[in-house]
């Protein structure tokens, strides 16, 4: 539903209106908080809303502008933050019972940057517990519903951030992407999601899931808004030893260039192996994607088939590497320093209390992955499983490097299927894992990938993924913005109106 309410505008428009005095940050922030009050009962995107904090920041922005101060490009534009990112003084649980009630004593680097950019923080969004899942059904607290059809999942793990932006409860949000947790929710909710180059921004203050893969990134309703947020949060951080000390790719400039609708001279690769056999997407998804490819060709792009044979093995490779790292990272939840403690009745030993705490505090998917990771790292299996997966990861990287010697970017559907109905894939974890079939290779490689809405299948949104070379985030935004330029109305603006209370 497109309209003229404050919440219908793009983040770029909101920022401009605030800067030039045509609107106040207070009014815009309040409009979003009122929207949350009105409809989040029906959607469930938020775990925590900080009305007072958000309005206090908004007021500061309005006062600074009244004094004639120059603020950053998104000053005064409100934002929602995935609950896996720590926020000083605001509850942070990663949607797990094991962290229920924990109030972090510090901010993640990306939150520090959001605060320095004077963006009011609306609250924390729902997700699959510890970012493990593709439907947000593994949240320990509640479901998040897809604003396009409230009987369906909003994707995951960042279903709350995607649903909040799709339902216009926030113009922007932060997600994190380990295997597709920004892009797949973006695709199934008709929003824009970007996984930046690994190391392009800081992981300091992200609750760790898989440290060699976790990447925070922007969630928005269009490429330019996402690019503006991308530049706010990105750049080197000495507190994250894996962050890259290099200039942030010029993604805002690239989004503006893309919006001119000219892709002449741009070579786009399509992966041969994605089209074959069991890796094929639903016919409706393929149709929407191919219509998008045709549009890109009309804008001047040249399509080149590339072969990436190791992509076929990306899913099992990921499900060895990510759970192995997770089993190690999640060892810290032992009932001693934060969150839940169970069974501490004077009769149980420390070790028993740890086991009882972890049993009570973790949900089923987290337990499965901890057990899987423990298996893959155990003596006798580590070479056959974890070690083998790390070598296949090298082959996946090499496939990307070979492809990028031929093409500027690679395109694919973002996810093989549209948003499914609740409960459809929770019985068989492997069926859930297939949601990330096309997004995982990029995480293995470390390059950037964005999902841009491309069309509908059965009335539900479909996303087109653009993958770029390491530190080539700009090309992904350029191609995505070019695709948007072919849409009379942005797909994100055609979501059905949610009836509030």
């Amino acid at each position: 539903m497109t309209g003229h309410r404050a919440i219908d505008q793009t983040a770029a428009h909101m920022a401009d209106a605030i800067r030039t005095g045509r609107a106040t940050s207070y009014a815009i922030t309040e409009a979003h908080l009122d929207r949350i009050d009105a409809i989040d009962g029906a959607i469930g995107a938020f775990l925590h809303v900080d009305r007072e904090g958000a309005l206090a920041t908004a007021r500061e922005v309005d006062e600074a502008i009244a004094r004639g101060e120059e603020l950053g490009p998104l000053a005064g534009v409100p934002i929602a933050i995935k609950d896996v990112v720590v926020t000083k003084g605001l509850p942070t649980t990663a949607a797990s019972k094991i962290l229920e009630g924990w109030i972090p004593p510090y901010d993640a680097t990306i939150v520090e940057r959001i605060k320095a950019a004077k963006m009011p923080i609306l609250g924390k969004t729902n997700m699959d517990e510890f970012a493990m899942g593709s439907s947000t059904e593994y949240s320990a607290f509640h479901k998040t519903r897809n604003p396009w059809d409230t009987g369906r999942i909003p994707g995951g793990s960042g279903g709350g951030s995607a649903a909040a932006v799709a339902a216009k409860m926030a113009p922007l949000a932060i997600g994190t992407d380990t295997g597709g947790s920004i892009r797949q929710p973006g695709a199934v909710t008709g929003t824009f999601g970007a996984k930046p180059t690994y190391g392009g921004n800081s992981r300091y203050g992200l609750i760790a899931f898989s440290s060699s893969l976790d990447t925070p990134g922007p969630v928005a309703r269009n490429a330019l808004d996402a690019a503006l947020l991308h530049e706010v949060i990105s750049g080197y951080d000495p507190r994250d030893s894996t962050s890259i000390d290099a200039p942030v790719p010029p993604v805002v400039e690239a989004a503006r260039l893309g919006a001119t609708g000219d892709l002449s001279g741009v070579k786009l690769g399509v992966v041969k192996e994605f089209k074959e056999g069991a890796d094929a997407a639903e016919p409706g998804v393929v149709a929407a994607y191919e219509a998008g490819v045709e549009q890109l060709v009309k804008l001047g792009a040249e399509i080149v088939e590339v072969s990436c044979p190791s992509f076929t093995y990306a899913l099992p490779t990921y499900y060895l590497i990510a759970p192995s790292e997770a089993s190690s990272n999640l060892a810290r939840y032992d009932g001693v320093r934060y969150g839940l403690r169970a069974g501490d009745d004077g009769k149980h030993s420390l070790e028993e209390v740890m086991s009882l705490t972890r049993e009570a505090g973790f949900g089923p998917e987290v337990k499965r992955r901890i057990i899987l990771g423990t298996y893959a790292l155990s003596a006798g299996y580590v070479d056959a499983f974890y070690g083998k997966a790390q070598k296949v990861r090298t082959l996946i990287k090499q496939d990307f490097e070979k492809a990028f010697a031929q093409v500027d970017a690679i395109i694919s559907p973002t996810t093989p299927f549209i948003a499914f109905e609740f409960g459809a894939r929770t019985g068989d974890p492997y069926q859930m894992y297939l949601a990330d079939l096309y997004t995982i290779p990029t995480n293995m490689y470390g390059g950037p990938g964005v999902s841009v809405p491309v069309g509908l299948s059965e009335g539900m949104p479909v996303g087109l993924q653009v993958m770029g070379p390491v530190l080539g985030d700009d090309i992904t935004y350029r191609v995505a913005a070019a695709l948007e330029s072919t849409q009379d109305v942005l797909l994100a603006d055609t979501a059905p109106e949610i009836e509030g209370k």
Partner: protein
């Protein structure tokens, strides 16, 4: 043939300090078997002479100046703990009394 037994899952859960229930063990054993079957396909891949990748974007020798930085205030950190006493995290007994 099943790749992982119920007993193995129980052993792994113990190693990972998870006090799993019998119902969970039954469910996990079947589910993990499906997942591990897919992982067996990696054995098909020829990785002779291939170097493992541990990180996406390789960086070596990340140094910084050794300058003291302020730590978090003790009370702010302890405030997150489930049980604290005498400015420390309190834990249940670690050693058996007879030990």
């Amino acid at each position: 043939m099943s790749t992982i037994s119920r007993e193995e899952v129980a052993h792994l859960a113990r190693l990972a300090r998870l006090e799993v229930t019998d119902v969970e063990l039954d469910a996990f054993a079947g589910q993990l078997d499906v997942i591990l079957q897919s992982m067996k396909t990696l054995a098909e891949v020829d990785t002779d002479g291939v170097q493992p990748t541990s990180h996406a974007v390789p960086l070596v020798n990340v140094f910084r100046e050794d300058q003291p930085q302020p730590s978090l205030p003790r009370d702010a950190v302890l405030a997150g703990g489930p049980d604290t006493a005498e400015d420390r995290f309190r834990v249940p007994r670690i050693l058996d009394e007879e030990a």
